[in-house]
């Protein structure tokens, strides 16, 4: 037996699941298990009880509703990746999921599980933060909504309470005239990246850059918004020729010290390069989308 002994709880409703969260002193929630089970196998985590969500109804539902994409917390990453309605509503989601581990892991790994796990190198928390998404958490007092910017606290640590369970993840639909990009660098495709960047870039009616939203993973203790870059994009209609210069402003968010993969200086350079690539790709896609829209209007 690899894991230490635990109580296995199989609730049939979210209320039962939350009750188990309260009843036992030290619980973990089993959703897809692709991050949790390794920590159990190594006995890095020795919980009193494991609460398996697989029989809780409604937690794997996905729907696009107005300006929001609602994703049940236990939705498999692979199912979200293959969902064409979601892709049509926000193509950054599929592009990001292609970088999450390997298909075999995404077959089991869940969207809410990855976000609640809050690995600072993981792509999905970075995506949620970039898009200004939110999550729904159920606790003994009912449900509450938490904005992405208030969710991630530290390495593997969120503002979810020990008696709460993440039940839904909400991503905004991509606005009009907006381009997108997720890019990262890893030693082997599917490994945790040395650094990754999620970006969206929205154009004004006249085709100039109106604003951008960017977040990075793998560079500090949480996923992080690249505020300095976003501010510079707002400043003076951001001439595309200034993209390289603007990307340099990302470097200061890196706090990861030299490690076995690379030096801190390398990671700063890498992040700047990824931001530049993400901005250029987003700008090109935003322009294509805006042009396609204009030509549709002309012909109709």
């Amino acid at each position: 037996m690899k894991p230490s002994r635990f109580e296995y709880v199989l609730p049939r409703s979210i209320e039962e699941a939350v009750a188990a969260r309260v009843e036992y002193a030290d619980t973990v929630v089993l959703s897809g298990g692709q991050s949790l089970v390794p920590t159990l196998n190594f006995r890095l985590s020795n919980p009193e009880a494991v609460i398996d969500l697989r029989l809780v109804p409604g937690l794997a539902d996905v729907r696009v509703d107005g300006d929001w994409i609602h994703v049940g917390g236990r939705t498999r990453q692979r199912d979200l990746e293959l969902d064409d309605a979601v892709h049509a509503a926000n193509p950054l989601i599929r592009e990001t999921l292609h970088h999450v581990a390997h298909p075999v892991i995404r077959n089991r790994g869940t969207v809410g599980g990855s976000i609640a796990h809050a690995d600072p190198s993981a792509e999905l928390p970075c995506l949620l933060l970039c898009l200004d998404g939110e999550v729904v958490a159920h606790g003994p007092g009912g449900a509450r909504t938490i904005d992405a910017q208030d969710l991630f606290e530290f390495i593997l640590s969120t503002t979810l309470e020990p008696d709460e369970i993440l039940t839904e993840v909400r991503f905004p639909v991509l606005p009009e005239r907006t381009g997108w990009c997720f890019t990262e660098f890893a030693r082997r495709h599917g490994d945790f990246a040395l650094a990754g960047v999620a970006a969206t870039l929205t154009l004004a009616e006249d085709g100039t850059i109106a604003w951008g939203q960017l977040a990075a993973c793998g560079v500090t203790t949480t996923p992080v918004r690249l505020v300095a870059v976003e501010d510079a994009l707002l400043d003076g209609a951001a001439d595309p020729s200034r993209i390289r210069e603007i990307a340099q402003l990302a470097a200061d968010v890196v706090t990861v010290p030299d490690d076995e993969s690379c030096s801190s200086a390398y990671r700063r350079d890498l992040l700047v390069g990824l931001v530049e690539r993400a901005l250029r790709t987003s700008l090109q896609r935003a322009t294509e989308r805006a042009t396609a829209r204009t030509s549709r209007e002309v012909t109709s």
Partner: protein, 184 residues
Amino acid sequence: MTSSTYRSPVNDDPTLDISLVVNGRPVEASVSPRLLLSDFLRHHLGLTGTHVGCEHGVCGACTVHIDGRAARSCLTLAVQLDGATVRTVEDLEGPDGSLSPVQEAFRDCHGLQCGFCTPGFLMSVTALLDEDPDVADASDTEIRERIAGNLCRCTGYQGIVAATRQAAETIRDAKEQADVPTRG
């Protein structure tokens, strides 16, 4: 292969009853909640074709199919599989013992050296080609990315990439042949 009399070394663990289908046969067992699927397959059912390498999801040697999709058996608790359908490498060969197209291709292309990673590769590649036989047209780099979730410590990747391509061609040809009558 029915309910098991195997006793785990820690035999005072409370157990739960599960029933599932493994390689087309119903299986019922009482297992400790902390038993991994990989150990359940090997120790309880004697299906030792599923190999256990890193035991934390990195190497891919333990890959099986759960409800038709490839998954790491070392990252799954056996109790999670109550009601599920599992397929292991033992089920790839035909009823007459003939090799599957993927197995055949691994033999033809020297896609194995020591063989330890092979069951995992066979299960990952079989699932990949079920989903997308157009891998036959992919570049070597794309094929490497698609199978990057499995490691070969003999570093015999050239043969593995070639085998994946050959198997994809065989499967696609077979599908096209099967499609011919319906086109007319």
